[in-house]
């Protein structure tokens, strides 16, 4: 037997309470990992945006369109290699009453696949899509979920553009990069444009352009904005990263709230752990008095208290991190990637998050023990021995 044996046996004294505390820490760490992974996933798309791609939108807001003729003018700006355009369509599948959300966009096929060269599509499918006015290119995850195959006829209900819209699956894309959303539905912009009343025709939601030199993105953007500065509709051009960030900026309050909640969860964990340790210390006052009487010094008692707290938090933290991997990577993460890929293209536990979670569990375990441990150093041995229970 040694001092560690005594400490370990003390931890196992009230197994029910220790187990519940460990479960509490586990749940807190799991929640922390989940929320931090969500934050990471949300911002990962920004970090992994192509540096040689810029986005151009209406200066006022995303939801106001640009004249289509701007696309050709943007292509003429020095430094721009290619430009693609898109309209957010916002359709839903009437078969599931729109429960399964997926992005639907009207695009020009050739330019889309030039600007977004991370898309992987068989050439024959690209050709088929180009030739078919109602053709659609869908992500492999979406196709798998919906059971769509090449040649399938699909009907979607328009929300922004009402009506029943007929499509035919021409191609299924995968991607070179994991951050690309494989849950989207692209169809020919011409099909949308021709179906609209004249007043709504020839408008695009935004323009994405590939530039020759990533280092010149700011300069090129200034040139684009300057070009349309004296028009009725002015533009706001920014790098893809900035564009993603500005889109995410609309969610900044939610992201901040998630950030705060993840920290609050850990603080609650610390208070629960601290209370458990304090209860244990109160119950063992007489024992600590006895140990002090037979020659143990406050340092020994502090080690017992801090050791118990660290052990509990470390075990709970380790289990929390361990269970987070299958729960997130195989469960929640897979669901979000398959169903909400446009927001969470990659939803996997990142090792730095797991490490931080475990480290914080240990740190907070140590902090939780400070007050109870300090109390034991102030223990009056005679008073402790007199105390019953």
């Amino acid at each position: 037997m040694n001092l560690t044996t005594v400490a370990v046996k003390n931890i196992a004294r009230n197994r029910g309470r220790t187990l519940l505390t460990i479960v509490g820490v586990t749940v807190a760490i799991l929640a922390f990992v989940l929320l931090r992974t969500l934050l990471w996933s949300w911002t990962a798309a920004i970090e992994q945006s192509a540096s040689d791609r810029i986005g151009v939108r209406h200066k006022v807001t995303f939801i106001m369109p640009l004249p289509k003729k701007y696309v050709d003018e943007i292509r003429q700006i020095p430094g721009v290699k290619a430009a693609a355009y898109a309209n957010w369509f916002g359709a839903k599948d009437p078969k599931d009453e729109g429960r399964d959300f997926f992005a639907t966009m009207a695009v020009e096929p050739e330019e889309l696949l030039t600007v977004y060269d991370e898309f992987l599509v068989k050439p024959a499918e690209v050709e088929a899509w180009k030739q078919n006015r109602r053709g659609a290119l869908v992500g492999d995850m979406l196709a798998k979920k919906k059971g769509w195959k090449i040649g399938d006829k699909v009907v979607l209900s328009g929300t922004i553009f009402p009506g029943e819209w007929q499509f035919e699956i021409s191609g299924i894309y995968t991607a070179k990069r994991a951050t690309v959303d494989r849950n989207s539905f692209y169809f020919q912009w011409k099909y949308l444009n021709e179906s609209l009343p004249p007043a709504r025709q020839d408008k695009v939601g935004w323009v994405s352009a590939r530039i020759g030199d990533a280092g010149r993105s700011a300069e090129i953007c200034r040139a684009i904005d300057a070009k349309f500065d004296d028009r009725d509709v002015q533009t706001l051009c920014m790098s893809e990263k900035a564009m993603q960030a500005s889109f995410m900026g609309m969610m900044s309050a939610i992201l901040k709230a998630i950030d705060i909640v993840s920290i609050v969860i850990l603080l609650i964990m610390m208070l629960v752990l601290g209370n458990t340790i304090a209860m244990g210390v109160r119950e063992r006052t007489t024992e600590y008095g006895t140990l002090r009487a037979i020659g143990f010094v406050p340092r020994h008692i502090v080690l017992f208290v801090v050791g118990e707290s660290l052990f509990t938090s470390a075990l709970g933290g380790a289990i929390g991190v361990a269970v987070a991997y299958p729960i997130v990577n195989l469960g929640i993460g897979r669901y979000l990637e398959e169903n909400w890929g446009q927001f969470f293209a990659i939803f996997r536990v990142q090792p730095p998050i797991a490490l931080a979670a475990f480290g914080l569990a240990l740190l907070l375990g140590g902090l939780a023990a400070i007050i109870p441990a300090y109390g034991t150093t102030r223990l009056n041995t005679v008073a402790a021995l007199r105390r019953i229970g």
Partner: protein
């Protein structure tokens, strides 16, 4: 009043004009008043007196758990009154064995582990610690119960384990605070027999606080305290 049956040798415990005053809301409460007392090596002394007479306070001073407010206290050749808490803890570990009324065993440790506990403070190899703990358990007649937890033992057996814990580091002095207070007569007699054995065969100096006249009868000397004075 003191009744001396036995006890000789040099003073193991010497109190010179020792006083102890507690403060409650800044109000002084003089619990011990200028006690002069010599307890020789190898003595078995009992301290008796009504509640609040100061006997437990006196025992705590002798054991180095508390410090006197006045006077000089020398135990086993050391000026205990002049030591700080850390020095007293170290001193207690090698000089004092404690026996409490409620045994105060650690419930999560086996009898053998409880006995071994004080030896964790000594720089001894694990095997040596275990061997000494087994010997101490044998002395108290519980060598077959080493792997039992306190809850698996009777009150008398628990107190014997506590006595084994008190002697395992081979202290010169054993202080016992109502060691039979929670026991039936038969178990109490076993404990008193054991204390007598430790006194006579192992020459331990024993100071015992008790309310029980039958227990006090076993001591060589019975000292009585009343209102902080030896009478």
């Amino acid at each position: 009043m003191s009744e001396s049956k036995n006890g000789n040798g040099a003073a193991m415990i010497r109190l010179e004009k020792v006083g102890k005053t507690f403060y409650r809301s800044k109000e002084p409460l003089e619990v011990l008043k200028g006690i002069d007392l010599d307890i020789p090596e190898g003595a078995f002394e009992a301290l008796m007196g009504p509640s609040g007479s100061g006997k437990s306070t006196l025992l705590n001073l002798i054991a180095g758990l508390d410090q006197p407010s006045a006077g000089r206290l020398t135990v086993a050749g050391a000026d205990v009154g002049g030591m700080n808490e850390s020095e007293r803890a170290k001193w207690r570990a090698s000089n004092i064995g404690f026996v409490f009324q409620t045994y105060n065993l650690m419930p999560v440790l086996t009898a053998l582990e409880n006995v071994e506990l004080p030896l964790l403070l000594a720089k001894l190899p694990s095997a040596e610690r275990k061997k000494r703990a087994e010997i101490a358990l044998r002395v108290v007649g519980l060598d077959q119960r080493g792997d039992h937890l306190p809850r698996q033992l009777s009150g008398g057996q628990e107190q014997r384990v506590a006595i084994a814990r008190a002697i395992v580091a081979d202290p010169k002095i054993i202080v016992a605070d109502e060691p039979t207070g929670d026991l039936d007569r038969e178990s109490a007699n076993d404990i008193l027999n054991l204390l007598e054995k430790l006194n006579k065969e192992f020459n331990k100096t024993i100071v015992m606080v008790t309310h029980d006249p039958a227990a006090a009868e076993r001591a060589n000397i019975v000292r009585r305290l009343d209102k902080g004075n030896l009478v």
